[in-house]
Symmetry: C2
Subunit: 100 residues, 2 copies
């Protein structure tokens, strides 16, 4: 199991708009080789922002890497995103391999 | 879906010992109400440490909170842990609720 989590810090008050963008976008993930599962997760809120994470599970790192080079990836990332003032900094990608 | 991730920064060279502790411990999670899935994940390595995360999926935050007050939790956390010099700082718990 390989997990890719992209972490987004969203300014307080912009959460609903951010969630709407995700709700309305097309993931183009169905049928991608090695793709297993997707979720959008909401984490903790502090004084400044709410942490969100896209949580996608893959059969392997190779499957994930292949997707990032694919048309499906380009189509998914060519859609409308939330306005720039929504984000505290840039999204931060973290990847994990299952040990146990 | 509710996700609890405890993040551990492990000094370079101490990864194998840390993984062995997890491999040999008893989780006491089987049969805990609302528990769905556990994994130990290994993330990126930088000059100083390797990031690990325990990744546990629950039916709800309430189920997770109840577990943290239970005998199963006390038993699981009363076991041998890795030596103190293994860790960069304290573990950091992050919790997430599924939005989509």
């Amino acid at each position: 199991m390989f997990l890719a989590m992209n972490r987004f810090k969203i300014y307080k008050g912009f959460e609903e708009g951010f969630e709407t963008v995700w709700r309305e976008r097309e993931s183009f993930l169905s049928g991608v080789p090695g793709f297993k599962q997707f979720a959008l997760l909401r984490g903790q809120t502090n004084d400044e922002f709410t942490l969100y994470a896209s949580h996608s599970v893959w059969e392997s790192r190779d499957a994930f890497d292949a997707w990032t080079q694919s048309d499906s990836f380009r189509k998914a990332h060519g859609q409308r995103s939330a306005p720039k003032g929504t984000y505290v900094g840039h999204p931060q990608l973290e990847t994990f391999e299952q040990v146990l």
